[in-house]
């Protein structure tokens, strides 16, 4: 029986559905950037990338360290004698010293107010892999996780695509600065229950993406109490923990549970990565940290699908053991972020555009362009977004891709550019706002 017809080749549902969510404008804007990349001298009219939260502020510090520490790399004469042992090391527990320095680094970022056990550190394919692995460990297909919105667009893929888990958004509003409240979580939980959806936990990003804000102790405590009451999990994605450049200081869930007497630690889990704080997304270092022994065991077995290259583990062990370097890096990084954030938000304020008040962290800011919308709808927001990408030539991320409720908000990333490019970007936005403001006035 000849069935050589290509079109009848059967693929899986996963391969053919669009639950990966990559058809959203969040990803489309990147294409515009790829086609026409800005360069200060070679392509000054190109699109400036402000849609990718990448931290390139302190590469100079890292480059200097690498030059001064050739034995940290197995790719140098000084380090080559370690090549063999590193190349053959494939234990999914990871290099012990690597886990130890990661634990120490995480402690340092939290002001040494908490301790982390290196044996609870499990590797994953970036935080992307960590997010997914937690879902595989904590929920079955059809189960749901509560996610405060607006949220990181790729959660749609990371949490749902292969796992079959649903996302139930927890609404946050601009009227109270998009602050997450226990009440909002309870509403979302109750609604899910009424629809017979089995909620397995709450996953939140703290510091928040896209808001750039941190949770206070009281809110964190109330959320921990909530999950304990309902016996559901709390997964805290703390990937931006070292990007807090202003007060209030960062409070990790690790700190919270230290203070609480009656907390079931089996419910508490942390996601971390070196992609944002250190600016190493290319290294693919995701960290799963759980207080639940069974989850650690299961996640560790699954880490075979996303282990960190032993070469990378080896390098990072050296880098992060250098306390002087780490302290200097963290402090300079914060200063540069604070400056970038300040310059942009101040420049925007001068033309009447406000950014979310109280934002103290992240590699981006959450900007309110509601006054520029023709009407307060998401269609109008997308229209405005297309103009910004195509005419103003800035790739920014429209709020709708973050599943927020209110149109007009945009996320702009600033930590991936030098001062010169930053100035160009700011100037473009200011010019655009002023031009449109004038048009708006004329119309009235």
């Amino acid at each position: 029986m000849e069935k050589g017809n290509r079109s009848r080749q059967v693929l899986s549902r996963i391969a053919t559905n669009d639950k990966h969510g990559e058809n959203s404008p969040y990803f489309h804007g990147w294409n515009a950037y790829e086609r026409n990349r800005f360069h200060p001298t070679q392509n000054p009219q190109g699109v400036i990338q402000m849609g990718l939260a990448e931290n390139q502020l302190c590469f100079d510090l890292v480059e200097k360290w690498i030059r001064e520490n050739p034995n940290a790399s197995i790719c140098t004469r000084e380090g080559a004698d370690q090549f063999k042992e590193i190349a053959i090391f494939q234990d999914y527990h990871g290099i012990k010293e690597f886990r130890q320095v990661v634990a120490k680094f995480m402690e340092k970022v939290r002001g040494n107010r908490v301790t982390f056990d290196p044996d609870r550190i499990v590797m994953s394919g970036g935080a992307t892999g960590a997010n997914e692995t937690f879902m595989f460990c904590l929920a079955d297909p059809g189960d749901a996780f509560l996610v405060p919105s607006p949220y990181y667009p790729a959660f749609d893929r990371d949490l749902r695509w292969r796992t079959g888990v649903q996302i139930i958004p927890v609404d946050c509003h601009s009227s109270n600065g998009f602050r997450l409240t226990r009440a909002a979580v309870e509403v979302a939980y109750k609604t899910a229950q009424e629809s017979n959806i089995n909620v397995k936990g709450l996953i939140l990003t703290n510091p928040s993406n896209p808001l750039g804000t941190t949770l206070d102790m009281e809110t964190l405590k109330s959320l921990v109490a909530f999950v304990n009451e309902k016996n559901i999990h709390l997964v805290c994605d703390e990937i931006y923990s070292a990007t807090v450049f202003n007060s209030p200081r960062f409070i990790s869930v690790a700190e919270v549970i230290q203070e609480l007497e009656h907390c079931n630690r089996d419910l508490i889990h942390i996601i971390y990565s070196l992609s944002k704080d250190l600016g190493f997304p290319g290294f693919r270092v995701g960290i799963i940290y759980s207080y639940n022994d069974i989850v650690v065991s299961c996640a560790r077995k699954m880490s075979s699908f996303g282990l960190v290259s032993s070469q990378t583990q080896h390098f990072l062990t050296s880098l992060l053991s250098d306390e002087e370097f780490v302290d200097n890096f963290l402090s300079k990084s914060k200063k540069r972020m604070a400056k970038g954030h300040h310059d942009f938000t101040k420049g925007l304020k001068q033309v009447g555009i406000s950014c979310l008040k109280g934002s103290n962290s992240g590699l981006f800011f959450w900007m309110d362009l509601g006054s520029l919308l023709k009407e307060q709808t998401f269609e109008a927001e997308l229209e405005l977004w297309r103009v910004i990408v195509d005419d103003v030539r800035l790739n920014v991320s429209p709020g709708s891709s973050f599943h927020g409720l209110e149109p007009g908000w945009f996320r702009l990333c600033f930590a991936n550019m030098d001062d010169q490019t930053g100035e160009v970007a700011l100037e473009r936005i200011r010019t655009f706002v002023l031009d449109n403001g004038k048009k708006g006035d004329e119309g009235r």
């Binding site: 050589g4 080749q9 899986s12 790719c75 460990c137 079955d140 893929r157 292969r162 290319g282 699954m302």
Partner: protein, 531 residues
Amino acid sequence: MTQRRRSNQNSSPETELQTPETTGATAMRLIVPLQGIVQGRGGLILGSLIPCALFYFLQLYLKRNRSPNPPPRSTSSANLGELPRTSSRSNLSSRGSIGPVQISVRASSIAKPSDSPYYIGLEKAAEDPYDRLDNPNGIIQLGLSENRLCFDLIEKWVSENLTDSIMGREGGELSISGIATYQPFDGMTELKVAMADYMSQVMGRTVLFDPSQLILTAGATPAIEILSFCLADQGNGFLIPTPYYPGFDRDIKYRTGIELIPVHCRSTDNFMLSMTALDQAFNQARKRGIKIRGILLSNPSNPVGNLLSRDMLYGLLDFAREKNIHVICDEIFAGSNYGSEEFLSMAEIVESEEFDRTRVHIIYGLSKDLSLPGFRVGVIYSFNEKVLAAAKKLTRFSSVSAPTQRLLVSMLSNTRFIEEYIETNKKRIREIYHLFVAGLEELGIRCAESSAGLFCWANMSSLIPSYSEKGELELWEQLLNIAKINVTPGSACHCIEPGWFRCCFTTLSQEDISVVMERIRKVAETCKSSC
């Protein structure tokens, strides 16, 4: 691709794993019937006697399950012995009656200590590794298909070629942005180009690989999982010839929900796949209501080490076309064929004929042929655009680390080095293979005919106390605990004939072989005298 060697800094004390779940679930089962008794039906005496008796039996049941010699555990749970036990345990008592924490069904089963001798043996060997000088009574690892024969060549290459540190040279300047920033998740173009050429070289330049059909993943382990997610849904099945690599049970069954349907191969055929058996297995699966979506093959095969012939490859393609299913070829040992038979890639077959290529997919990696398992570099090679598009998105979860990609671009592009490496590697594997197999023959142990891989497939059925899986495992335990060598028993590979063992020999030096043979001889003599 094979199980990991634990860092041997400290051996964990053997502690049992008693999950809060099992305690809670068992308790609930007894409390509910108790209520009926206590609430008056049995009267006061019965109402107090029976609960006491039940409680006593509960304790006895729990105690029996918590045996003094805990069941051997896999690498994963070994670490649990080192974890601070306070957190979850103290909360158990303070938690009250809300019940155990629910994790996923999948996680509960995965987290359990593995009962596969494959993993148990690997862990034990890692805890007490043999070293000729420092630990001459340690366990000799023959259960991990690792190749240490050619590191001298790699070290020489590194010292002569790598001077740039972990950073690349972007436009002549040492720059971190070339490796630290986000890269394409399915691999840098330069590495795809270098990998395509390397694969062609390793397979004897009889086939060309197109870089645009190549996807890079963090090891062959995620490569096979990603491919599975693309080709089949939960509950579907892949046909797989036995014996097969034990890791497939993890790679495919952990999260995809796809079933592996064994197609048994026999020693009379030197464990070569028979089309009749394949057809039978397909029909039987269909009768059971399982939709078969593909065939998963290892070529060269693991654990036997034989090669698929041209006729067989054609036959498989015909079969796949007839049933409209996929063919997945794991060719990870392609460069480790030391025999006289030439390796034939499925890519070569489809290139030369008018086949529907969109059903053919190849898995590769650098863990075996180049001995770089730590670097996590795997390949999906497919002729199917849709599969490539979906797999590319899935590499988001399993990308190759950028510094490693840069290093490999240098290494793989150096064709002269690769040429020397491939030839020397084959030669050294061949030498060790002959010595090892000859050593076994002197002990009356014959091996299946093989010409590739890092292992041999040895027939120890004359030594097992009973011709059964039980007998095989008894011999395996004796070899592990008395002879102190870790080999992989055929049952872990789903072999239908008891008594076969996979022995990996490419981590051994020639001196080590005599030690291994001596140890086996002692056990063999004990077995013969007691049989």
